[in-house]
Every structure is written in C-alpha cells, then in structure tokens.
C-alpha cells in the first residue's frame, strides 16, 4: 500500500524536485540557494525515487553510475575556471559574462557554470555515498 502511493508520488516528484533544484541552483546568485543546496535537493529526489522504486530501478534510470557526476562536475567547474585564461587572458576563476541577462536566471557567466559544476558534484557525491551505504548495509 505504502509503496504504491510512494511510487506514484515519486514518479511525479522526481521531475518536480529536479526542476526545483535547478531553479534553486540558478537563482543562487540572487537569493539564498546555489549549487550546493540545489544539488542536495536533486539528490533527495533520487533518494526518494530509490526508496519507492528500489535502488536498481533508480540506477537504471541514471544509466551511468552517479559517481561519474563527480568528475563531470569537477570538469565543468574547471573549464569555467579556465575559460577566462583562454578567452581574455585573465586569471583563473575570473568571472566573464555574457552581455545580456536571460529572463528568470539573470546574468549568465562563468560563475554560473562553476555553480553548475558544484551542483553536479554534490549530486554525484551524495548519491554515491548513500547508494554505497545502502548496498552494503
């Protein structure tokens, strides 16, 4: 009984929570939030999904081991950090920005990409830790 409700709920909850987490991520530059909290929310979404549908299903949904999100995030962050060196010969991690702001998100710049990297790493880390512990419990 419990599982059916949960399962149905989580099917809707997963995309909703993910969207919310991306919102938190993007708005971080203006309001409380950012990559870290956003990442945590996204992982909670996956954890809930795993709780409802079983670990295997969630893993299948992700296709790749969540661990790969860590180097991916780090890479995104590194590239964001390196971009000023290549683009304008400015120091590592200098913010460079597109001229025009986008609606909802605001200004787009290397800092945002960096935050996306953080977001990805946090998801990767929390999912790896939780999955590993659950598997070996």
């Amino acid at each position: 009984m419990k599982t059916i409700i949960l399962r149905t709920a989580s099917d809707y909850l997963l995309p909703l929570l993910l969207l919310f987490s991306i919102f938190i991520l993007l708005r971080g530059h203006y309001l409380p939030g950012g990559g870290f909290v956003g990442g945590l929310i996204a992982s909670i979404a996956f954890v809930l999904h795993a709780f409802a549908n079983g670990l295997e299903n969630t893993k299948n949904l992700l296709r790749l081991h969540p661990g790969y999100l860590m180097p991916l995030g780090l890479l995104v962050a590194t590239l964001a950090g390196l971009s000023p060196i290549f683009v304008e010969n400015l120091p590592f991690m200098t913010g460079i920005w597109f001229q025009e702001p986008l609606p909802v998100i605001g200004m787009i710049g290397s800092a945002l990409f960096f935050d996306i990297g953080v977001y990805l790493v946090v998801i990767g880390v929390s999912l790896t830790i939780i999955f590993t512990i659950t598997e070996s419990a």
């Binding site: 971080g28 309001l31 950012g34 605001g106 200004m107 953080v118 790493v121 512990i133 419990a137």
Partner: protein
Amino acid sequence: MLLTLYKLMLIAILTGFLFSIFLVFAGKYLKGRLAILSALVPLGLFVYFLNFSKRIANGEVISQTFEWVPSLGVNLGFTLDGVSLIFALMITGIGFLVFAYTAAYLKGHEFLDRFYGYLGIFMAAMLGVVLSDNIISLFVFWELTSISSFFLIGFNNKEEASRKSAILALAITGTGGLLLLAGVLILGNVAGTYSIAEMLSSKEVIADSAHYILIVLLIFGAAFTKSAQFPFHFWLPGAMKAPTPVSTYLHSATMVKAGVYLLMRFTPVLGSTELWNSTLIIVGATTMVYAAIHTIFRTDLKGILAYSTISALGVLVFLIGLGTQDALLAACVFILVHALYKATLFLVTGIIDHETGTRDITKLAGLRKVLLPVAIAGILAAISNAGIPPSFGFLGKDLIYEATLHFGNSAVLLTILAIVTNILLLYAGFLAGIKPFTGKLPTTFEKVHLPSFLMWLPPLILATLGILIGLFPSIIQGSLIQPAVTALGESGSEIQLKLWHGFNLILALSATTIGVGALLYFIMKPSQKLENGIAKLEFIAPQTLVEKFGFGFGKFSRFTTGLIQNGYLRYYVSVIILFLVILTGYTLIQNTKYVFDYDSFSVLTVYEVLTVLVMIVGILFTVFTKSRLAAVAAMGVVGLAISLIFVYYSAPDLAMTQFSIDTLTVILFVLVLYKLPKYLNFSDYKVRIKDGVLSLVFGALITVLALEVLSEPQGSQLTDYYAENAYVLAKGKNVVNVILVDFRGIDTFMEIAVLTIAAIGVFSLLKLRLTSKNRR
C-alpha cells in the same frame, strides 16, 4: 706543467673514490688474477707524493683550493707540508703493500672486489684528512674513514661478532666525529675562518676566547676516540675481527693515527696551554701504560698487537702533550717507526694465521723452518720494535727518552713511565715477531708452506726499511722529519738524526729497556690462565661499562617510548589538550582584561533563549545518554538549533546548509549504527571526572578567548568592498553566494573536491575487500 701537477692533488684524492666506483661496475674482473693490478693505484699515488718531497724539503708548503660550498665556507683546500707528506707517504706506501698483500691473502674470495672498494674509499678519505686545510672538509673525510672502517670491520658480515664490533667501532668513532663537528664549527666561528693556515694568525684570539676550553675538549674527544685512547680504546681490539690487511692498514698504521694527526695539526693553533699539554700527557701516559700492561694477558697474536698499538698511540699522544721540540720530533719519528714495524708484525701475523690457521701464541713455534722469509721479517720488525741498534726503532726510542728527560720537574716520573711502556712493548714485539719462529716446530705445522711472494715480500720490505733508515737516517732527516717539525710550529734549530750519541744516560736507559724487556720475554710465558685472569676484571673495564650503559639506555628508551606512545588514543588527545590549555592559558591569564563591552552585544529575545536552552539540553543529552541512537538524535537536535541561530542572525544560506547537512549526517549515522551493539560503559567514575574537568577548562578557555576577541575592535574592509562590488562587478545579489562562487571561488572548488574524495573513500572503504588472493 706545474699547474697540471697542482690540479692533480684533488684528482689524487679522488682517485681512490673513483677506483671504488669503478669496482662497483667492473669488480668481477678484478677478483681473479688481475686483483694485483689494484695495487697500482696506491703505488701511483705514492710516487706522486714522493715527487713533492724535494720541494717540501726545501721548506715549501704547497696549497691549493677548489671551491665546493662557498656559501657555507666550505672548500676543498689542500695543504701539503711536512706532516701531511709523512702521512700521505705512509698511507699510499703501506697502502700499496697492503693492496698487493691482499691480492694473495684473500685470493679467490667471493667479495674481493668489495674489499678493494672499501680500501680505496678509505685510502682516499685518509688522504683527504691529512691534506685538508679547511676543517670542514677535514671533518668530511674524517667521517668517511670511520664509515669505511665500519664496512671493513664488518667484512666477514655473516659472523655476529664482526657485525657487533663494526657497530661498536662506528658508535665510538662516530661519537668522536660528531664532537669534532661541533668542535670545528665552534672553532671556525671563534677564529672567523675554517682554514687552519689562517687560524695560525689568530692563535691568541682563540686561546683567549671563552670557548677555548670547549673547543679543545671537543677536539680531544674526536682525537681520543679515533686514536683509541683510554677509556675509549676498546673498540680497537674488537676491530681486529676485520681481515688482517685491514688491521694492518687502518687499525695500526693509518686511520688510528688520524687522531694523532689531528692533535699535531692543531698544536700550533690550540697548543701550548696548560689544558692542552697536561690533558694529553695524562691521557697519553695512562693509555700507553694501561695498554702495554694488557699485552701481557693476551694469547691471540692480533690481540697482543692491538694492545701494543693502543699503547704506541698513547706514546704519541703523550709526546704531543709534552709539546717541546724534542717531543714533537720524537713523535714524528715514532709515527714512522711504529708504522714500519707494526705493519710488518701484522702482516706476519696474517701469514701465520693464513698458513697455520691459528693465532694462538701459546701454540705457535718453530715456524722459521717453513716460513723463513716471514721469520726474517718478523725478527727484523721485533728488533726495530725493541729499539735495538742499529734499527730505526733505536733512534725513535732515543728521541723519546730525550724528550722525557728534558721535561722539567716531572722528568723522572715521565721517563719511568716511558721505560715501563717500552719494556712491555718490547715484550709484545718479541712475542709477535720472534716467538712464533723460534723453538721446535710442532708436528701439526710441518706441512705449512710458504705462501706467494705477494704475501711475504711486503712485510719483508717494511722490516728492511726499518733497519735501513736506522742505518742511514739522513734518508728521511731533511726530506721528511725537518719539514714536519717545522710544520708543527717549531721553526727552531735544525734537527739531527743519528744512531750514535756517545755513552750517555739515554744510551743507558735504552740498554736497560732492552735488557729488562728481553729478560721479561724469557721469564714470562703467555698463557690462557693469564688471559682468564684478566677476564675476571672485565666487569670494570671501560668496554663493559659502555656496553652496560648502552643496554641501560636501550631500556630507558623503550621505557620512555612506551610511556609516550602507549597506544591509547584518549591519552594522546588529553596530552595535546593539556599542552594547549597550559600554553594558551598561561598567555591568556597574563594578558586578559576581563572587560567586556556588554552594550555592544545584541538584545536577547525569548526565541533565542529557548533555542540556546534546547541546544544545551541537546548537548548534555548527547554526552550522557546511554543509547547510541539517542545520542545521535540529540546531536541532530543541536545541529538544528544551530541552524535556527543562523536564521536569527541573518544567515539564510547557512541555515539551509546546516539543516540539510545535519539531517544527512543523522541519516548516515542511523544507517550505519543500527547494526552495532550497545554502548558499553568503559571508564570509571574517576576517569570521567578527570576528563570532565579537562574538557570544561578547555571549553572555558575558548569562551574567554571568544569574549576577549569580541572586545577588540574589528573593521573588516572586506565587507565594505563586497557590499560595493557584489552586484556591480560580480553581478550577484546574494553576497554569500557571490563570495562562494566568485570572490572566494577556489574555496568552493576545493570543497567539492573534498566531497569527491570523501565519496571515493566511502565507496572503496565499503566495497573493497582484500582477499587472500588479491592481498599480496
């Protein structure tokens, strides 16, 4: 031409090292018949140094300098004067004979190449010692002689006794080396230079310095350990575990004389003071008599020779202590005398040992019948040793008596000591050089045959030299002895070496010495009984005392290490905290004002007080609950309360993060914990009180510190800058987030790296199972 010769001096020293490095790679070709070729190295060097003798005889001092580490004042400054030349010739000359001898002595030995390698290093290092003008480079070479000695003593390293002796010798000479290091550094500082030549001009400055005593004592420490003076002598008999060529070369002819060399070298700089002279006289005299007496109680040939070497070294130190021109002259001559006869005796002993398989003097007799050339060498050496005219030894002995007799008030006492020593040395020399060859040949030795000429020729050459120089002292008088005495700072009258001084007191003393010595030889018979007798006194021998000390020290270090590193983590933590509390407490108490500016503190609201109360209860519950899960839950509550505080005090981002992290931590804890057993109540009441007090003191300290800091003004220029620029330049309005991703983005970057690493750690800690198959 001259320049190239000069250049050669560095190369001359390096030759030995290069030879050894060469052996590492090509050694296997030098193990067989070609082994004798290695003797060419010292021979070449001998000829090289001999070339200088004319110039040295003319009073020249050859010096040259190669830069090495100028920033530390260390260069390779070499000086060749009379003293250096004597030593250099001895090192290379005896080196040549020993190298040749070894080719036969260790013929076919598995590790012959290694042996030559060590010898090469030693020879080079020893040359470095006697040629160095820079005292640091002197020390460098000095240490290298100790190290090569270590490897040579331990050459038969499968035997425990060899290894032990090697370590013991290294420990003693190594200690001396360190004293020397301190000594030369302090000396260099006081004198303002590391060059011995330059120090000569600041002799007074050094002597008047407050550190003079320290310097002298340190240098004495080095010299006495290296030259086996009482009470540091005991490593030398142990060193006889080395193959005989080593005993000959290092432990009688050259290395042990490095200490003597050091004293000679520093005589012009540090000498002529009460401290210098008296100490040397006392130590030297004690050593020479003590060791000479010991020879009576030995039955092993090498043991006898070891003690007689110690005694001879004592004589040398004693002579340097006398410090008069006569005495220094005697010292220079006696170094050569001793090197010639003692090396011979050792080589002879080596042959006997090699051919008969024993060194027990009580068993050896009549070997002249089978080893005639060896017998000749031995007997000639014994004659020189005894100081029977016309040997070189006779000359040496004369000079010694000459020196003691002219030494003011204590002349009689000193002369008597010298005579006693000489008598016993004579006895020892007869035992080693004559006893094995006279009498009836035991049947067991009938099959003994003469070894290759490579073995018997070197001692014969040395022994013959010992007689030849006695007959024609002019060979060395002008070329070696005169410059050496000059180098020792005695620029006085010209010296004369001659056999015949007419009938005088000295001749009478010499005759007495010989007579009594010979008598002693005929009366005393070495025996196992005597040896066992002295063994009973061993419990007060310096060696025993040092070994006991070493043992005790080992126990002490085990005790302290066990005390410090006792394995209990909580003890480690308490020590660290105690240390912290004492240090910070001390400074805080000294400087605290205890004035707090309450007005600047913010006003309390009911919510805040409630939150704090919840937190306090949470903390207490965490600490005192008996349930693990409850503790974790309480800890979670504390974390939640903290995030509330963050909410109250304008930190929404922090509150969010704290909240989510806190929740996650609790979840993880629960996931892991529910499988573990219950808490056990380990510690007793007393321990808990003690820990509680320590913890509270620590906590109070932090509180006081916090309040102190709060009462100081703080104006952060960062805050204003960020307020100005967060939006204008960094295009963000949530300043905390802007700091995180932009101003201090690297912090965040590394924070996610930490998370990544932690995740890998968690993953591998739980997933990796080493099984017996993949474990190794």
